[in-house]
Amino acid sequence: MNIDYNAMDERAFREMVRDFVWRECPPGMIHQARRMRWREAKDWCLKLAAKGWSAPAWPVEHGGMGLNIDKLIAFQDEFDRAGVARHPDIGLSMLGPLLIRFGSAQQKAHYLPRIAAFEDLWCQGYSEPGAGSDLAALRTSATSDGDHWVIDGQKIWTTLAQEATDIFILARTDPQARKQAGISFFLARMNTPGITVRPIRTLAGDEEFCEVFLDQVRIPKHNIVGAVNGGWTMAKALLGFERLLHGSPKLAQMVLLRLEAMARATGRFADPVFVEMFTRLSLDVADLAATYARFADGLKSGLSLGPEVSILKIWGAETAQRITEAMLDMAEEQGASRGAGDFGGAQVDPLGHYFLSRPGTIYGGSSEIQRNILAKAVLGLPSSSL
């Protein structure tokens, strides 16, 4: 099993990935207008894990594929082209890289293999009610009690907490410290007494997010990552991973492909007004992808990501939204129905895609907040007092 993927020719590597995806990925995982649940994704996840492909970006010594950036992009690209839906990946894409960088040797040895094998499914206790994107206003508290921390508070917008086995939690360990100082980063089993989950129904009718109530939750002291009161470092690093993740053009590309499938099946390419609009959207996506590649090139040549990387998330999320609005337009009366409908033989769920693309401009720092940051940090415009 010790293949050096990075040494492979890109074409051969892509063929290998494509071949596996097309052969093994269940049809129910393809072209979905919503996030997959564990019961739906399980077969596929276990196949990936068995193949050693669950953690493409992790170093080989931690059970990952150790792909360099070119191969990582190619790997992801083949998944996207096939239309593979996102499986539960918070452990893999968020916590894993964080532990690799900041975790203790014991934490790495214990958690990483379990994440890569999908034995543990993680969720993140990050946002709080009323705090939105303003992390400095964090109110969940952790107080020391012997060899435990006792956590009290409430988290919200926790993706798929109802099926997670574990949660990582940001909590305030020093109530005196100002804002970001005094926050720590904890790991907890979801079955710890005092943790309750309440799913939140979304506009789309799904229960993708949850509230997580933390009532006197006792966590062993060794379940802290990094230093006590050092959680802000972790939070920033997570934001960094998120920025890259959220800047990916893949949602926009996926919905553009669905729009194209609808249009081809229903003969809309004979409508010049549609073609004009589709062309604009295609170029919006192509130029997003080219800009993403430019940032990736920068990373490869050793530049670090500055705040300007936010433009990818803003443009990607807003472009995806525009595309789904075009899907609704094209669907006409059928765009009002819940669930996939038949468009000249193509099965597409325009309303589902419309809803799916909404949170992209809200979570992980809303588009408004990203614009505030860019205006000041990149354009050097003066602070407003607001």
């Binding site: 303003d134 506009l203 009366e333």
Partner: protein
Amino acid sequence: MFTSIAEPEHRRQLRDSAADFLRRRCDAKAVRAAIETVDGFSRERWKAMADLGWTALLLPEKAGGLGLGFGDVAALHHEVGKAAAPEPLAVVSLLVAQAVARGCEGALREPVLNRLASGDVIATLAWQAAPGALGSDRVGPHAVRSGSSWRLAGRALFAPFAARADGLVVAARVASGVALFWLDGAPPVLEDRRLADGSTQASLSFDGVHLGTDALIAGPESGADILDGVLDTARLAASAELLGLAERAFAMTMEHLKTRRQFGAPIGSFQALQHRAVDHYIRIELARSALERAARVMDCGAAAAERGAEVSAAKARCGDTARDVARDCIQMHGAIGYTAECDLSLYVNRILVLSTWLGAARAHRDRWAALRLRSGEAA
């Protein structure tokens, strides 16, 4: 917040009584309860609306109606929209009852109109051949006379509430035009679908359906005109509901902006949000103007082309505005705006339905262009 220009006294009374009824009987909790039922609306509330005369607004007084005009229809549905009321008011009172009232002079007329006006039955209209079809030139079902009966065939799409209906007007192509028939009892549902707002729409198949000659409401000499007329009337109502929905969604969002704080200030004090809010306010006012213009033109008894152009202008403007307002209200609410428990969701989902019903904006702009630009008359 919104500009009020003087309305006739009887219309203000109609509005006030409607607003009062809806406040009492149709708050967000009541809407939520209704749309989670199998029907997707409340039969009790429907009956109460009928008792208020809402199902017979346009019917002449001698037929038991209120004898009001299109401006009044727009005003009532504007209030209905503000409440996001899910009852099939436009379907029953405008599509069905108006088709019967305008077309039928036979024995069916009185009993059907009475049953519709009383709120005892739900009925719907089946006609549409394909997505984006706007009128009598795109009727799906067809019929041939065979002795003393009509043999129907073909399909109709997007018939609202058809799987919950107790009767149906069906428009069918016949040898020399379009005829309208009354079909008593449960419509022949092929596939029933639930829409974003909890309401339902069905596609119907008329293959094998036979009707007696007494089922004819309007023959080919008038069927097409009546069909196009009731469709435009229902579009006026849908435009008014969209305006009301957009206004309320916007007003809820303004409240949210005033109360929710972030980074130490109410988010409504952030100038970028203020300017976006103003953009929506402007577009809502334009939608109101387009709606009022269409109602006025209809009240003046304009010819079909003039009526069609103005109704299409209103439906396109109200539909686009409402959808854009909905989209941005989600964004301005932040994460809470994406949840079903936020009342905004009722408005967003209903806007998503009504903005496509009886023609989405692009189709209506195309119709406006066909009616107005051909003759060289631009704006």
